[in-house]
């Protein structure tokens, strides 16, 4: 039965795909094929060549504590094929997504940050696809005309003109990661590739433009099973930059969780250092308090500890956030500019520690 459906689908896709570019349907076979498609449109995840309108089944989501990437706007979708069934709720770590799941993340810039919602230019769209042999990551880079995004396995450096909210023009030296660099962050304790963001604690928030909790919407879409009846009782990290959403320490730890813990947590790429910035870590020395560095090199900046309570200027953590030198800056990948608001948040957090 399954075999027949497969061939019918393949037939339909090849006929329709060949007949007309205007017919869009999610191509399950392309998504699960060993080799990635050359262009994003081949997967049928969007209804238009510019990927402005998602196909049916793609659910928009946001995170409480997104990773900073050179001020890029990020548009995230989750897709789980009906036959794969829902993801399983779990308190810690990333939701257990079934084979066939696709996470779609588009990085974009507005023509000017004076109007952040207008004239949005797409830069790249990354797909994380849960294939039969595990998760794979593929970066697709958009063309100038915004009509096509092409696979770039070796990554790419792009110069992106931006206008900041104060009207000043700038060029961002944006780096599209190569597939290995993707893995540099997206790797779990078993060395397997894994998503980072969609954890219960990050997803637990009101859905954009709706009254429901995001987790509830995912449940309604058939994308989530299990967990407490009232999903708002689930664990949650606060929004780092929303002063009404938690005290300074909780918000700073949420920021570090979102921006650092994919490497800096036990079993992950930067655990060599013993600095664990995941939200659950409660041993002070391990989340940086008076912790000397191990292999920071000049990244230590002549400072003695990661967090010197009360003294941001003596804290390696802040020094590395406040740099764009590749031998110093943290995170090592994903940014070429400084997250000024993030630096301020952590500066204040350390300053007020005692």
């Amino acid at each position: 039965m399954k075999g027949i459906r497969f061939w019918l689908l393949l037939f339909a896709v090849s006929v329709l795909g060949g007949a007309s570019q205007s017919v869009w349907a999610i191509d399950q076979n392309k998504l699960l094929a060993t080799k990635p498609a050359r262009t994003l449109s081949e997967y049928g995840l969007f209804q238009d060549a510019g990927a402005r309108n998602q196909a049916e089944g793609l659910v928009l989501y946001e995170l409480n504590n997104p990773l900073f990437t050179d001020y890029a706007l990020k548009i995230r979708y989750l897709y789980i094929p009906k036959e794969s069934g829902p993801a399983t709720y779990q308190e810690d770590g990333v939701l257990e997504f079934p084979v066939g799941t696709v996470l779609v993340k588009t990085f974009a810039y507005p023509a000017s940050f004076e109007q952040p919602d207008a004239d949005i230019r797409y830069i790249e769209t990354r797909l994380l696809i849960h294939k039969r042999d595990g998760w794979k990551a593929y970066p697709y880079v958009w063309n100038e005309e915004q009509t096509e995004a092409r696979l770039k396995v070796a990554g790419k450096r792009l110069e992106i003109p931006v206008v900041w909210a104060d009207g000043k023009s700038d060029i961002i030296n944006y780096a599209v990661p190569n597939m290995n660099q993707c893995k540099g962050c997206h790797v779990n304790a078993d060395k397997a590739f894994t998503p980072i963001g969609p954890k219960v604690r990050n997803l637990n928030r009101q859905a954009k433009g709706k009254s429901e909790n995001q987790l509830e919407l995912l449940r309604q879409a058939g994308y989530l099973k299990g967990g407490p009846e009232n999903l708002e009782e689930s664990p949650r990290v606060p929004e780092p930059f929303n002063p009404d959403d938690g005290n300074l320490q909780a918000r700073a730890r949420a920021y570090l969780d979102g921006n650092c813990a994919h490497c800096h947590s036990p079993g992950h790429p930067a655990d060599t250092s013993g600095l664990y910035l995941n939200y659950e870590e409660n041993r002070e020395v391990h989340w940086g308090v008076n912790k000397p560095p191990v292999a920071a090199g000049r990244g230590a900046g002549g400072l003695l500890v990661d967090i010197h309570p009360g003294a941001p200027e003596k804290s390696i953590l802040l020094f590395r956030m406040d740099s764009t030198d590749p031998g110093i800056m943290m995170p090592e990948l994903g940014r070429s500019t400084i997250d000024q608001e993030g630096v301020e948040l952590i500066r204040k957090f350390i300053a007020e520690m005692n």
Partner: protein, 431 residues
């Protein structure tokens, strides 16, 4: 023309592979991907590293490759081979991103016959792998010793079956060759110059370090154990037939790094490890001291950590003229003040947990063993610096030069086996 070279190569491989599949079923992936220097070197090498299949070799032709981002390899059982450490040069002088030159995260990888120069961070790092061979690799910061140089040259960490042979490391602002949090390690026939630490084994189990030459570093050979790390309790390390001499470069580690404590002119430091055997080495021309056996004295919060060295066995070494002019920094000064100059060839800091220090002394079965070493006339072979008293109550301080309590021997540690691709690692060298 060079930009299309790789593509053409791969196209041809594809055709050949397809033909073989048709003719004979499965193909052994024993083919070679060739890359030559070009304007597009970054993308071509990285693409080769991503698309390589297990069993393949990536050959980097002789020449100077200008790279702008860190390279990384995550495919198992791949060989990356250059034309020689002075012929195939991967230069990261213009690096804009990625914090190391080359990062390996897959098992059974062999790197050989090329150089990595001027990376912004570490030069060659392997993390969390089983089986990594670095053969005839040079890592160098070409501007000489500077605190802005990257931390480590050759840097396998949290790995098993580590093999470093015939390598050269120059100018690292921490350690030229640094193996950390790893198990089953051989480092041999390698050379370290103008690094803060020439060669360092840290928080690791079972290492054989032999036939290496360390000169003109701040310190030559280091074996450390540090607290608050996923892997600690470093033990069973042998250092033999190495030469550590004329280490005379001022410490240029950026402040805050633990190697910042190493005084200029240190032959060897053993810190907080257990079961270290040091034999048949030569130490001379080191301005501060030939060997220091020390405790980790910084504050730490880690109940599992053992800060004092135990069962350090030093025998059949040859000690030449050293310790004449200790570094004026903190550690050198305290040596000068406690044991005087010329500083004895082997110095123990005498630091013990306070109760042991005050009442019991060190347990007999943990203490230093010193025998059959060759010393120059007029130099004290051994000194206990008694540093606790020096710091706490200097007027009651007195060093102890009596070697008699240490005239004993521990059984020799077993040789380390390193297996890569199913065979003893040493067999890889001839290939």
């Amino acid at each position: 023309m060079p930009a299309t070279f790789l593509r053409v190569q791969r196209g041809m491989l594809g055709i050949i592979a397809t033909a073989l599949i048709i003719l004979s079923g499965p193909v052994l992936a024993d083919d070679v991907i060739r890359v030559s220097p070009s304007e597009n070197a970054q993308e071509e090498i990285q693409e080769a590293l991503i698309l390589a299949e297990p069993g393949q070799t990536i050959e980097l032709a002789a020449g100077f490759y200008k790279l702008t981002d860190g390279l990384s390899l995550d495919v198992a059982n791949v060989t990356v081979k250059g034309a020689g450490m002075d012929k195939t040069i991967l230069s990261f002088k213009g690096q804009k991103g990625g914090s190391e030159g080359l990062l390996v995260t897959s098992d059974q990888v062999v790197l050989r016959d090329f150089a990595v120069e001027d990376s912004k961070g570490d030069a060659v790092k392997a993390k969390g792998v089983d089986g990594i061979a670095m053969i005839n690799i040079r890592t160098e910061w070409t501007g000489g010793p500077k605190s802005t140089n990257g931390a480590y040259g050759l840097y396998p960490v949290q790995s098993k079956n580590v093999f470093i042979y015939g390598c050269v490391a120059i100018g690292a602002s921490d350690a030229g060759i640094y193996v950390g949090q790893s198990e089953d390690i051989i480092v041999t026939k390698s050379r370290g110059e103008f690094n803060v630490a020439g060669l360092e084994i840290e928080n690791s189990y079972r290492a054989d370090v032999f036939d290496n030459v360390m000169t003109r570093n701040t310190g030559g050979l280091l074996v450390f154990d540090l607290p608050n790390l996923p892997k600690q309790g470093g033990h069973n390390v042998r250092f033999f037939r190495n030469k550590s001499f004329d280490n005379d470069t001022d410490n240029f580690a950026p402040e805050g790094n633990i190697v910042g404590i190493v005084p200029r002119g240190t032959g060897m430091i053993v810190m907080a490890n257990e079961n270290v055997e040091v034999f048949e080495n030569e130490f001379y021309g080191n301005d501060t001291v030939n060997i220091v056996v020390a405790s980790y004295v910084d504050e730490f919060e880690d109940e599992n950590y053992q800060p004092t060295p135990k069962k350090i066995h030093i025998h059949h070494n040859k000690f030449g003229k050293s310790g004449m002019d200790p570094d004026p920094g903190q550690f050198g000064t305290i040596l000068r003040e406690t044991v005087g100059t010329p500083v004895p060839d082997v110095v123990w800091d005498g630091v013990l947990p306070l109760m042991d220090y005050l009442f019991f002394g060190q347990a007999e079965e943990d203490s230093l063993a010193l025998h059959d070493n060759t010393h120059l006339d007029g130099v004290k072979p051994y000194g206990n610096a008694n540093m606790i008293m020096h710091v706490v109550a200097p007027i009651f301080h007195s060093p102890d030069f009596d070697m008699a309590p240490y005239a004993k021997s521990y059984p020799s540690l077993p040789a380390v086996d390193v297996t890569i691709r199913g065979r003893p690692a040493m067999e890889l060298v001839a290939q």
